[in-house]
Structure formats: structure tokens, C-alpha cells
């Protein structure tokens, strides 16, 4: 039992007792419906992913990037999934599972708002009540997604505590869940939290690598040399990696947010980055043992990234384990490089990537030679939600790559 709840030393179930019966119930439902396809759950999930979600998403050869880096670069287009990010794979799976379990109410946290939007969409689609917790900082930098959640009839609750980002939103959602656990399911947004969430979310997301593996073989005639994906909590990462884990020749590269630098301000309990996988220490947060940004005493540090979806002090336990084993290579790139990559893809390929995904693309720019001749980059989502941030942050940094927008400012 406990061995399955862990990935090596990582994972587990560290939550208040009030939640444990719900977690046991969820574990049972996960094993029956997801692993054993009881009542045809997985068939229905797959069918809805196709008809409602628009799967499969394309694996597209990026012609200009291939030329630029002198190697074959393919993009897995999760930005084309309904809602504009990979998050729907998981949200649809969990909301459907909650329905199978007879739960009446959904709560969720969100960082970039993509998970909140996907959850609100899935709830509208499947007719379930939905409430979303979102940090104040994230609300301010991801307003289009706040409107989208509201339009789908979800309640959005601002969280003002701490730095008002994903970590605080998770705390608040856990509190709501602990109060209303009997009729409520918590749709956690990444491969984090207590068992069975990290496994279950990975299973729902692994459709990404399932498709990508077939698609690259069909298009390039072989498996890639590397798969690159950004890592916040790590759900698009594990989704893009999972089916390749057994392919020892395929390098799996998890790109974290290097923010504005890796040095930690212990005094202020602030990390100017979110690179928990590459720089964090073992600890217990939000229900799991994993790698965390924390002070020497074990207080969790506030993280930072220009991209709200990566701005989290923890990371999924399976990634922590795979990184320890040497199977996944954790790397990071800074805010500036991510912004530049955002503009590069928009200009050269006609794709506006999420700032999260831009981190993966920035790593390709910085270290193309380390990725081999055939590279798959997961474009986890589209960047429409980030336009305000990108314009503002690009202007502040005088980024050459960015178009100037001042002349349009203030016009009615």
C-alpha cells in the first residue's frame, strides 16, 4: 500500500486526518475506474478528450526552428487542445471521475489560470458546481483566464495571503476541501499533492507522450533524442515524458523557471526563482514528500517566475525521484530568456506560446547541442493569457525582440 503511494522516497500522504477517508475513497476510485477501466470510465474519458477536447493534438515539425538550430525540431501542440493548454487532459479526467464517484462539488486551485479554466470548462461540460482559488498576484497577471472561469459559471476566490501565488492557492483549496470533504472533490492541477494525485494526474496527462511517441515514429521514423518540457508542478512534463521513460536512449529534459537568478534571500524567505527540482531540498509540502524551496529550518520559501504557472516552491514527487535516478535532467532558464523565446516562436513559427512553455523553448535556444539531432518540445499551452505580462515585462527590459506598443497605449 505505502509502496505504491511513493516513488522511491518521495510521495506519500501527508494531510490532515479529516481528508484521509476521502483520499482512501479516491485511491479506490482511481484504481477501479482509471487503472481497471471499470464501467468503461477510460473509454468515456478518451472519447470526451477527442470530441470535446479536440485530441489528438498535432506533432508539428517547426521548420524555421529546425533550420535555426540545424536539427529536427518537432513541437507537440498542446496549445491546440481545447482551452489552450494541456491542463484539460487532467481536469476532464478528474471532473469525470468525481462524477463517477457521486461528488457534487468541485474545488480547484490555479496559478496561470489555465488549470482553473480547464476545470471550469470541464465542470460546465459535465454539469458540476465549481469553485476556484487563485492568488491575488496571479489574478492580476492572468485576468483573461479569470473572466473565462467566470464565464463558465465558476466562482473565483482571491487568496491574499503570502505572495498570492500558487502555493497559497493550494493551501486555501485544501482548507475548503477539509471543510466540505464529504460532497466535494479537489481537482488538483498538477502531479503534486498526496497519493493518488501524482500518479493519477500523470496517467491523465500521459496521453501527450502516448501520441507524441507514435507521431514522431510516423514522421521521423524513429524515437527522438530528447523530449523537452517546462516544469512547474510538472504535469505537462510527466505527461510528455511518461511513455518515453522506458526508452533509455531518449533524454528527458525538465526546464524549470530560473527567474531572475538562483541565489536565495534567506532573510526574506524568498527565492527569486522556482527551480525546486534542480536546487530544492527534500521535505514535505501539500501532502507529499518531494523537493522543495525551503529555508534551513524548513520554512517554505516564496518562489518567483515571470510565468505564473511555474511559480511554485515544490514539484511532483515522481519527477524528484526520476531526477535522483538520473532519468530526468533538471535544468533552468531565466525570465529574460523565456520572454525572448516567447517572441521568437511568435515571429518565426506563428505560434504564441504560454510563458511556461517559453521556458522549454528558451532551453532549446541556449543548449541546442545538448539535445541531439531529433528534438520534441512540448508546447504546453498558448500565450493569449500572458499578453499583458509580456508587453509590460518586455518594455521594462527593453527587449529587442518585442514590438513597441506605446503608440497604442491610452487610445480608446
Amino acid at each position: 500500500m505505502s509502496s505504491e503511494s511513493k516513488f522511491g522516497e518521495y510521495g506519500g500522504q501527508y494531510v490532515p486526518e479529516a481528508l484521509m477517508p476521502a483520499i482512501e475513497e479516491l485511491t479506490d476510485a482511481y484504481e477501479r475506474y482509471v487503472l481497471d477501466n471499470e464501467d468503461g470510465f477510460m473509454d468515456e474519458f478518451r472519447q470526451r478528450l477527442r470530441d470535446f477536447g479536440g485530441r489528438p493534438t498535432p506533432l508539428q515539425r517547426a521548420d524555421r526552428l529546425s533550420e535555426r538550430y540545424d536539427r529536427e525540431v518537432y513541437l507537440k501542440r498542446e496549445d491546440l487542445l481545447h482551452g489552450g493548454a494541456h491542463k484539460l487532459n487532467n481536469a476532464l479526467g478528474q471532473v469525470l471521475l468525481a462524477k463517477y464517484m457521486g461528488k457534487e462539488r468541485i474545488v480547484a486551485e490555479t496559478g496561470a489560470g489555465q488549470h482553473g479554466t480547464a476545470t471550469a470548462m470541464a465542470c460546465a461540460h459535465l454539469d458540476v458546481d465549481c469553485e476556484i482559488y487563485m492568488g491575488r498576484t496571479d489574478i492580476n497577471r492572468q485576468r483573461p483566464n479569470v473572466f473565462r472561469m467566470r464565464i463558465h459559471d465558476a466562482e473565483v476566490n482571491p487568496v491574499d495571503i503570502g505572495s498570492g501565488t500558487l502555493k497559497e492557492a493550494i493551501n486555501e483549496t485544501m482548507r475548503d476541501w477539509a471543510t466540505n470533504v464529504e460532497d466535494t472533490h479537489y481537482v488538483i492541477g498538477s502531479v503534486v499533492g498526496p497519493h493518488p494525485f501524482p500518479r493519477m494526474v500523470r496517467d491523465f496527462q500521459s496521453v501527450i507522450s502516448e501520441e507524441a511517441r507514435d507521431q514522431i515514429r510516423a514522421k521521423a521514423g524513429r524515437l527522438p533524442d530528447s523530449v523537452v518540457a517546462c516544469a512547474g508542478g510538472g504535469s505537462n512534463t510527466m505527461g510528455a515524458f511518461h511513455e518515453f521513460v522506458g526508452d533509455g536512449d531518449v533524454d528527458l529534459v525538465a526546464v524549470e523557471a530560473g527567474g531572475s537568478g538562483l541565489a536565495i534571500d534567506e532573510e526574506e524567505e524568498l527565492a527569486p526563482h522556482s527551480a525546486s527540482l534542480s536546487t530544492g531540498d527534500d521535505g514535505v509540502l501539500h501532502g507529499a514528500r518531494t523537493k522543495l524551496l525551503q529555508s534551513r529550518d524548513g520554512q517554505i520559501l516564496e518562489s518567483h517566475s515571470v510565468s505564473a504557472g511555474l511559480d511554485y516552491s515544490g514539484v511532483g514527487p515522481e519527477l524528484a525521484h526520476l531526477a535522483d535516478e538520473g532519468r530526468v535532467t533538471p535544468v533552468n532558464v531565466g525570465d529574460d530568456a523565456a520572454l525572448e523565446a516567447f517572441h521568437r516562436l511568435s515571429k518565426t513559427e506563428g505560434i504564441i506560446p504560454a510563458l511556461e512553455s517559453s521556458h522549454a523553448l528558451a532551453y532549446l535556444e541556449e543548449h541546442p547541442d545538448e539535445l541531439g539531432d531529433l528534438v520534441v518540445v512540448n508546447v504546453s499551452g498558448r500565450g493569449d493569457k500572458d499578453l499583458d505580462t509580456v508587453i509590460e515585462e518586455s518594455a521594462r527590459r527593453n527587449l529587442d525582440a518585442a514590438p513597441t506598443m506605446e503608440v497604442f497605449d491610452g487610445e480608446q
Binding site: 505505502s2 506519500g12 500522504q13 501527508y14 494531510v15 490532515p16 486526518e17 479529516a18 481528508l19 484521509m20 477517508p21 476521502a22 482512501e24 495571503i161 503570502g162 502555493k167 493551501n171 485544501m174 482548507r175 477539509a178 471543510t179 466540505n180 470533504v181 464529504e182 524567505e269 531540498d281 527534500d282 521535505g283 514535505v284 509540502l285 501539500h286 501532502g287 514528500r289 522543495l292 525551503q294 534551513r296 529550518d297 524548513g298 520554512q299 517554505i300
Partner: protein, 286 residues
């Protein structure tokens, strides 16, 4: 239970300090956050609570992510962290208080702080330091019984009680597993949700107490208790004690005449518990 001969000097078969605090009638367990607003004040407040009749003092060691706490205690924890409370300062404070105050001290904190403490991984160094500081027991709200084996082993080695929280949702099967490992007292969570003072006693409380009727360990109810009348009702309903946190933390937050008001509030709650004990418990007809 067998204690596997560990720490042989301890008389592990006899009652612990915490359990003994319930021996003379219903107990008042009071909670404050160490370092809110600073360590000296906390020491003064703990003395005031003891004067007011508190039988056990739960001293919160602040953690940055207190997911089991409501707004009152969250803010207190923030104040304490901002004022610089750390595990080492906490142990200094506990060592001072355990010399001065004649009631057992129980440390309430989250698992990451326990896990991180000291140079080696795991809970052993923290428990050793807590024992050294005179702490009698631990309550860890994010450590369910299923993950508690390493901490339980360390607590047994050092003679500390490990207290488990029974929730309204806890199944009988889980309850059995918890009672196998519990010592000191059983913490009955009076209602679902987080800590915080409420204006009534939840009906869930009575259900939980009924399920624990046969249990040998003392049972104390917490989460939401703020008034004398609540304490009376809960003890009359079969509890051996009440745990009060947010109500005291609110008094600390007010900053006015704090020690006197804590003492008076403790006296009032203790009286409520005593009143409840003299009542003949009415048979539950639900």
C-alpha cells in the same frame, strides 16, 4: 503496547505527564503560537494560562504553510515568523517554560519542520531536542497515522507522547489504527474544516465522542470552542477535556491587557468544563 526496550530508563508502562493532566477531572488544554508577538510575551502568556487553570499548554511552532488552521491562527503564525521564531528559539523558550510552569507542554507543528530539523534527515533530531527542552508530547496535524511510524519510533525512544486527531470523517477502521499508536490523549476534532472559534458546538462532536466511549485514553475535543457553555456541553457529552486555541490567539492579537484576559478566559473555560463534569450525561438519542 511493547516499547521494544528502547530508552529503558523510562517507565513506559505508566501514565505520561500529558495523560496525568486529565487525572483530576476535566482538563483545559490551551493553545498559543510561540513567538506571537515575541518569545518573551509568549512566556508571560503561558504563565497566565497556567494560573487560569490550563492543564496542558499546546505551544505552536509556526510553519509557513499551516493548512489545518483558520484565519486567526494563520495570522498569528505569520506574526511569529515575521518576528523571527525558529525551531531553536522555540526550544529555548520551551526549556525556560518547562522549568517554570507546572503543566505539561505539547508541541503542535507541521511535519516538514520536524523532518528538516538537525543535520540528519528524519524526525529523530527534532524529537531529541524537544525532549531535551522538556516537551511532553507532539501534535502534527498533517501527519496521519499511516505516515507516522518514524516519528512514533523517535517519540517512544525519547518518552514523548504522539497525539492523533480523530476527525468526524474518520472511519472505524482508521480509528482502530490510530488508537493502536496514540498516547497522551485522543484529540477529537469537533467539526470538519480548520481551526477557528465558533458560536456553537457541532453535532459531529457528540458522534465522535460516542465512538470513543470505550477508549482508555483521555479524550479532548477541539476546533471551534470559545465559550464556557461550549466547554460545559462537551464535557457533559463525555469528553475528558477541551482544547481551545483561536479564542486565546484572538486575545493575544488584540494586544490589550493580554495576560489578564488570558487568565480570566482560561478560568472561565475551566469552570465550564468542571460544570459539565458534575452533570449526569444524558443518553444520546440520535
Amino acid at each position: 503496547m511493547s516499547s521494544d526496550g528502547a530508552g529503558g530508563a523510562d517507565e513506559s508502562a505508566t501514565e505520561s505527564d500529558v495523560e496525568a493532566a486529565f487525572a483530576d477531572g476535566p482538563a483545559l488544554l490551551s493553545y498559543v503560537v510561540a513567538g506571537d508577538p515575541d518569545a518573551e510575551s509568549t512566556a508571560e502568556y503561558v504563565r497566565a494560562l497556567a494560573r487560569g487553570g490550563a492543564d496542558v499548554i499546546e505551544l505552536g511552532l509556526p510553519f509557513s504553510e499551516p493548512i489545518a488552521e483558520g484565519p486567526t491562527i494563520q495570522q498569528a503564525i505569520r506574526r511569529a515568523l515575521d518576528a523571527g521564531m525558529t525551531p531553536d528559539r522555540y526550544f529555548d523558550l520551551a526549556a525556560e517554560l518547562s522549568e517554570e510552569v507546572d503543566v505539561p507542554l505539547v508541541c503542535m507543528t507541521y511535519y516538514n519542520l520536524i523532518y528538516q530539523y538537525g543535520s540528519e534527515e528524519g524526525p529523530e533530531p527534532f524529537v531529541a531536542a524537544a525532549a531535551e527542552a522538556g516537551i511532553s508530547g507532539l501534535i502534527v496535524p498533517d501527519l496521519p497515522v499511516d505516515e507516522s511510524a518514524p516519528l512514533k519510533a523517535a517519540c517512544e525512544d525519547h518518552g514523548l507522547d504522539l497525539v492523533f486527531i480523530v476527525a468526524p470523517t474518520t472511519t472505524d477502521e482508521r480509528l482502530g489504527r490510530m488508537l493502536d499508536r496514540a498516547s497522551g490523549f485522543v484529540y477529537v476534532q469537533g467539526r470538519l474544516g480548520t481551526t477557528g472559534a465558533r458560536s456553537d458546538v457541532s453535532s459531529e462532536t457528540h458522534g465522535s465522542l460516542d465512538r470513543l466511549a470505550e477508549t482508555d485514553l483521555p479524550k479532548a475535543v477541539g476546533f471551534g470552542i470559545s465559550e464556557r457553555e461550549h466547554a460545559r456541553e462537551i464535557v457533559a457529552g463525555g469528553a475528558d477535556g477541551v482544547v481551545v486555541g483561536s479564542e486565546f490567539v484572538d486575545i493575544v492579537a488584540s494586544g490589550e491587557n493580554v495576560a489578564d484576559r488570558l487568565e480570566a478566559k482560561a478560568r472561565e473555560l475551566k469552570q465550564g468544563a468542571l460544570d459539565g463534569a458534575t452533570e449526569v450525561p444524558e443518553p444520546e438519542g440520535k
